[in-house]
Symmetry: C3
């Protein structure tokens, strides 16, 4: 018995979100859930400041365990777009988490991508200052 | 290629678990895995005290990044019931986590619901003081 | 509508990874995504030290909420192998996380296993000092 989920192993140096978006593009994934565990070295993590309508970003250097990466692929301007949040374990096993701006895989990241049966369209919302899902369609969008 | 997972975007003010249970009821979901990322404002989080058989609850005010919400829909007394745990990123990017009692979406929560091929039935267990899965059935329960 | 995901409820005293590997063996799962929420008592968590090529382990005694367990089943030497990372909520609702070496379920762990449509093969990589996915195959491996 097998479904539609597919596992990928990203190697050292691969960039997030770029590499995951490349896979989605190559495999014509329009909307999907995305998850990963593994490790990263450079990480840029964000917390959204709703008053200022901007992400407050913080950079982490050095190896972090990816204790969970959860997110989704949706279509933004017709192209696959990754929205992902993550939790990251430090050497003392405390955890930092937030919106993932970017990360560099080190030494591996095991990613599972599962296409959904509906398609979600994303666009920038001026009022919120965020990219949000504004519409979902049954089945695959053109 | 598309499976059975479906993505939903909850808007500001939507209540958890209520809104997710409403979706499950409307779509006749009997058992499913549930996940989400996004943000919440009010959050009530719990840690179970096994000696006293009660949840120790803590309230968080203000915006938190939902870095992971993982859980499931099962049938309790014939109706969809959400059991969910979550990790939440604060402004300093440290994370709090536990059993989700309730939360208010702010400004969005992107939820994926994936029906399972078996059905799980839940009921309150007096000995544990918890709602637990006591039986799983092949396929869909009546 | 039902897919290939299946939910299991592990009882108090069940061992991770043993019990999850047993399920995969019994159900002939070759590659799958794995997730869980619930609770554990004894927990051994690790952070990988890339210079020394070894896991730095830390033991936690007493009840912890499993706020997220994410991982996968792959084939190592032809047998199901669990790679899992986790986040765990303490009584003060702070979270610790890392690579799960072992854990004892207390009092329940609700696990979802979703077979993938490709098969991933894992082996020990001497250079990294880690078990890594070295090959993925379309469909089911023999």
């Amino acid at each position: 018995m097998s479904g539609v989920a597919k596992i990928y192993s990203l190697k050292s140096g691969a960039k997030v979100p770029d590499e995951i978006v490349s896979i989605a593009t190559r495999e014509a994934v329009k909307t999907a859930r995305v998850e990963a565990i593994g490790g990263v070295s450079k990480l840029r993590l964000a917390y959204f400041n709703h008053e200022k309508k901007l992400y407050e970003e913080h950079d982490y250097e050095g190896f972090l365990e990816v204790t969970s990466l959860l997110g989704n692929i949706t279509l933004k301007e017709g192209k696959p777009f990754l929205h992902a949040h993550g939790n990251f374990g430090r050497r003392d096993q405390t955890v930092v988490g937030g919106h993932i701006v970017s990360a560099t895989v080190f030494p591996i990241l095991e990613v599972v991508i599962t296409p959904t049966r509906n398609t979600a369209l994303r666009q920038f919302d001026d009022e919120l200052g965020l990219n949000v899902i504004y519409k979902t369609l049954r089945g695959s969008a053109k």
